[in-house]
């Protein structure tokens, strides 16, 4: 993991409103956006970024790129990502929300076969404060420092970054793993990356109800992560069985046997189960965003002893 201002970035779907808006914000933050893709718009420029019809066409012109950020519409994401992989790109960030899960299954199979890191879908992407913005994080809430932030949420991540910043806890990196049901990379993968990152001293993990990724993360932290971790889980009071907005926030399918199918945990869809998992793994859990900075300071102090 080495995202710097030199990282060469492609934007797929650059002529969509959301793509062009965030292309401008990314550029303004210092991100090295070298080209944009939008079939049928080749030859145009967006925010002074040259637009191409095809990824391979762009790469012929600008050389290989390090990462692509995808803003295309949901049913076109799989194709855009496969096109990027076919062109040799091995880091993919999918901002778009609402990809059909079976498209993600196909992409995950391909990513595994080609050793491609996929972040998202439905993610704000990555920010390395004051260095590079790969996505849509509200960059003015962030400040450089040594706290790594990994989250399943979008806007809630900005809130927590703000609270850290206001408590003088800068961030080494913030990563949204995405809020959809099937994700390209997991908490565990990013925990491992941040555990190996020299600029990160402590990790804040932001979870929410639905699925079992927090339980898996807790197990992974207990087994493999050396750096201190502080957790927070949103959704204690979320009404049961209602869709709150994320495809990931409720179990996809309920079997007629009355069970939801899950790998880990008795009832992993609830916040209680997730908090219990973190506590069992001896990971401090903040009960509100405002509690996070204090807990981070505490674990950093303990670490120094």
């Amino acid at each position: 993991m080495n995202f710097t201002p030199d990282t060469k970035v492609l934007i797929q779907g650059i002529t969509e409103v959301i793509g062009s808006t965030h292309a401008a914000l990314m550029k303004a933050y210092g991100t090295n956006v070298v080209a944009g893709i939008s079939p049928g718009c080749g030859g145009q420029t967006v925010q002074e970024i040259p637009v191409f019809d095809l990824v391979e066409q762009a790469l012929r012109k600008v050389g290989s790129v390090d990462v692509t950020v995808i803003f295309v519409k949901p049913y076109a994401v799989l194709d855009a990502a496969l096109e990027a992989i076919a062109a040799g790109i091995r880091q993919i960030i999918i901002i778009t929300e609402g990809m059909p899960p079976l498209d993600m299954v196909k992409l995950v199979r391909k990513a595994e076969a080609t050793d491609t890191l996929v972040l998202g879908p439905n993610t704000p992407g990555i920010i390395v404060p004051s260095k590079v913005l790969l996505g849509i994080h509200k960059s003015d809430f962030y400040t450089p420092g040594s706290v790594g932030l990994i989250s399943r949420s979008g806007t809630l991540t900005y809130e927590i970054a703000l609270q850290l910043t206001q408590a003088k806890l800068g961030q080494s990196i913030a990563v949204g793993i995405g809020s959809d049901a099937i994700l390209g990379s997991s908490f565990a993968q990013w925990l491992q990356i941040l555990d190996e990152d020299d600029h990160t001293e402590a990790i804040v993990l932001v979870g929410e109800i639905g699925g079992s990724s927090e339980e898996e993360a807790a197990q992974y932290i207990a087994a493999a992560i050396d750096k201190p971790v502080v957790a927070y889980v949103a959704g204690h009071h979320a009404p049961k069985g209602k869709r709150l907005g994320h495809a990931g926030d409720i179990m996809a399918a309920r079997l007629s046997t009355g069970k939801t199918f899950n790998i880990i945990g008795a009832d992993p869809d609830t916040a209680q189960s997730k908090i219990q998992a973190f506590k069992s793994a001896k990971i401090p859990v903040a009960s509100s965003p405002a509690e996070i900075p204090g807990l981070v300071k505490k674990v950093l102090k303990q670490k120094k002893k």
């Binding site: 969509e16 409103v17 959301i18 803003f71 929300e97 609402g98 059909p100 899960p101 079976l102 993600m104 299954v105 995950v108 879908p121 439905n122 704000p124 849509i136 509200k138 960059s139 003015d140 809430f141 989250s151 399943r152 949420s153 979008g154 806007t155 809630l156 809130e159 703000l162 609270q163 809020s179 049901a181 099937i182 932001v206 109800i209 079992s212 990724s213 898996e216 949103a234 959704g235 204690h236 009071h237 979320a238 009404p239 209602k242 869709r243 709150l244 907005g245 994320h246 996809a252 399918a253 079997l255 007629s256 046997t257 009355g258 199918f261 899950n262 790998i263 880990i264 009960s287 509100s288």
Partner: protein
């Protein structure tokens, strides 16, 4: 979203999964034209589970019994849900009953084949014997045979049951489903297989590319559709906007599910009682524009303000697409209109609006919002405690 049994079976039939002769009954008198020989089974077509135990399934031997039973079932709610349709189906003699399903495994990020040699009425027994096969790579029928072998099938039953699993998988993929389930799969004394009950859950995200499925779904889905506006006609609520009614007195408007949940948790933690909440959607929808976002803010404000018991509305919006000023202007615009309505005799008492805002444009925003009697708070916890105290004491 679940399909009804008769809809699921129609998909099974198209895919070549054997189902019994059956007929859709919209009204008890339809039974007089029944083309299936008696005895038949009448089944309540509801999405709720447990209809068998609740009396929603009846065996009948002749038309008189059938009409009586149908009248009975049409008037029998299953977990508060009344059937609009019954399914009349032939009887089938089974030797054994299996459970089969194809479902998406979020953790493995792969489709999963499930099978139990103990299908039928006891969910506990079915789960106890449940076997799983992850479809790691592209599907091939050997995955299905692997499942049947784990289930204990031998001889010709291996191919017979594998064939059903294969067709379930093809249906699952072809229609982008979340779940295809057959429970029970009847095995006749002669080794023939028959899907006796079926469940299909469609995937909401993928519906846009399956018009045939869209037609099967009710026009108004739970949690969505039309909602009465603030003293105005019914509003159409886009599916991206998630609105949930509760029974307190604080309305919440946020963007993003995580932020919405966190804000909700904070209100409860501070002793407040939310009246409802609306999530106007995160920032990752590909078709999002600042204009759309502002429209959703106004619509969201209307939604959270519409009930009488709402005393305070707390707005918590964070993001980069829409400038702070644009959002603030949308709030101010809504507030002005709302004040006008109150002034012109709308009986609703004026709701207090708290906007939590942070950023470089805050001074300008404060100015705009003060003019329409909206309080701006920078700190989230302060915004929460102000909202709760106003709702409790105000």
């Amino acid at each position: 979203m679940d399909l009804l049994e008769y809809q699921a079976k129609e998909l099974f039939r198209e895919m070549g999964i054997p189902v019994l002769p059956s007929q859709r009954i919209d009204h008890p008198k339809d039974l007089k034209g029944l083309k299936i020989p008696y005895p038949v089974v009448l089944k309540s077509q509801v999405r709720a589970g447990g209809r068998g135990r609740a009396g929603g399934i009846k065996f009948v031997a002749n038309t008189i019994d059938a009409v009586a039973a149908a009248q009975n079932i049409f008037h029998l709610p299953i977990n508060t849900e009344y059937p609009e349709v019954l399914l009349a189906e032939a009887k089938y003699d089974t030797d054994r009953e299996f459970y089969l399903a194809v479902v998406l495994d979020r953790a493995a990020r792969r489709p999963l084949l499930l099978g139990s040699s103990q299908g039928g009425t006891s969910p506990e027994l079915a789960m106890e014997q449940m076997q799983q096969v992850v479809v790691d790579e592209g599907f091939s029928p050997f995955y299905a045979r692997r499942l049947t072998q784990k289930m204990g099938c031998t001889g010709p039953l291996i191919e017979a049951v594998s064939d059903i699993v294969e067709k379930m998988y093809l249906l699952f993929v072809e229609k982008d489903l979340d779940l295809v389930e057959i429970n029970p799969l009847g095995i006749s004394p002669g080794g023939k297989v028959m899907a006796l009950d079926g469940k299909v859950t469609v995937n909401d995200e993928a519906l846009g590319r399956h018009s045939s499925l869209l037609q099967l779904l009710p026009k108004t889905q739970p949690d969505e559709g039309l909602v009465a506006g603030s003293g105005s006609p019914m509003m159409a609520v886009p599916p991206e906007l998630k609105f949930v009614e509760l029974d307190g007195n604080i309305g919440l408007l946020c963007n993003g599910a995580g932020l919405t949940m966190a804000t909700l948790d904070l209100v409860y933690a501070a002793g407040g009682k939310p009246a409802n909440f609306v999530n106007i959607g995160g920032e990752c929808r590909w078709d999002l524009t600042p204009e759309l976002l502002c429209d959703r803010i106004k619509l969201g404000l209307a939604l959270v303000s519409q009930k009488k018991n709402v005393k305070v509305v707390l707005v918590n919006l964070l993001g980069g697409l829409c400038s702070c000023t644009q959002a603030v202007e949308a709030i101010a615009h809504y507030q002005k209109q709302s004040q006008r309505e109150t002034a012109t005799g709308n009986p609703q008492t004026q709701i207090k609006v708290i906007v939590r805002l942070y950023g470089s444009e805050i001074d300008q925003a404060r100015e705009i919002l003060q003019a329409v009697e909206v309080t701006v708070v920078e700190n989230l916890d302060e915004a929460i405690s102000l909202s709760v105290s106003l709702a409790t004491n105000g």
